[in-house]
């Protein structure tokens, strides 16, 4: 058999490998251009005390997590018990961003399911969410001491993601 006849077969196999890799990737996870960049500055009213303002700058010097959630978000309910467990470990401050949600509904939700957050702020019109490139709730950002976003988790945080990605990064960043 001529060797040249094997070329199309080889090309086909390359194509198969590319397509197979493509199938394992999740198209709804769009890598954020914000990873490695300073977190967008924001100031927002606290959910529990709207007259008090919280700013991202308040967290400078700390490694912290910003979790985007909402009372209307179904996937957040799956994530919630995992965040409750995570909050018990007191590893890093967990700040909630109640995205496009009425404060009343957000507070009711926290009262019903428990509040894992050190504090939550209200993003009623979704303006902060847009600056953070949020396109689906829940999303979670890991922010370092200098206020730089180091990691973005799209969709519900899983135990696996905490163990294999977030915790090792936190430990590294806290050094």
């Amino acid at each position: 058999m001529k060797k040249t006849l094997l070329i199309p077969l080889g090309l086909f196999l390359v194509l198969v490998v590319f397509l197979a890799i493509g199938l394992t990737r999740n198209p709804s996870e769009v890598p954020s251009p914000l990873v490695g960049k300073p977190a967008p500055a924001f100031t927002a009213p606290r959910l529990d005390a709207p007259d008090q303002k919280f700013s991202g700058k308040d967290m400078l010097g700390k490694v912290w997590l910003l979790n985007v959630w909402a009372s209307w978000c179904v996937a957040c309910r799956y994530e919630h018990p995992i965040l409750m467990e995570f909050a018990k470990t007191k590893t890093v401050p967990l700040v909630g961003l109640d995205y496009k949600d009425q404060a009343v509904d957000g507070l009711k939700w926290l009262a019903r399911f428990g509040d894992p957050y050190d504090l939550s702020v209200s993003d009623l019109d979704g303006r902060i969410g847009i600056d953070f490139g949020v396109y689906g709730v829940p999303e979670t950002f890991l922010i370092d001491k200098a206020g730089v976003i180091r990691y973005k988790h799209i969709g519900p945080v899983t135990e696996d993601a905490i163990k294999t990605i977030i915790m090792p990064m936190v430990r590294e960043l806290q050094k």
């Binding site: 769009v30 890598p31 251009p33 914000l34 496009k100 979704g126 689906g136």
Partner: protein, 171 residues
Amino acid sequence: VKLNRIPERSLMSGWIAAVIWACLLVVQISPAALANVAVPLADDPVVERRLIVISEELRCLVCQNESLAGSRADLALDLRREIRTLIKGGKTDAEILDFMVSRYGDFVLYRPPVKPITWALWFGPFLLLIGAVVVLVRMVRKGQRNEVTPVLDAAQRARAQALLKDSERPS
């Protein structure tokens, strides 16, 4: 006559019910419909036209096969509002696209920018085409060369010729 009257009456009451229902529906639906659809259209038509041109270039990240102009997702609504504000703030189209890319990445653009990471995407098809043409030309040339090599040897050729001459004679 008696038999006829009953269906007539039920037909009438059916009509009345339908009219009442229609009135109720109109009363209930129209304020909501006006609030959702009419308000954006009442804005500056020049701004709206630019908004449509820009947002057709952008992907809605919630439903990825829809443009930002066509999507009815909540986020698309918010982003259109955001773009409208930027347009009114005097931003250029390029600045508005930058605003979107800096938040959501190149993926929001339906036309990916030409840069090293997208070279394969932009130029790959042309490379494949050139490669295919080269292969095709080679194969055709090889085919032509093969044709020149005689299929019959001298003796076979002479016999074939003789047979052909035979068949030309009228029998």
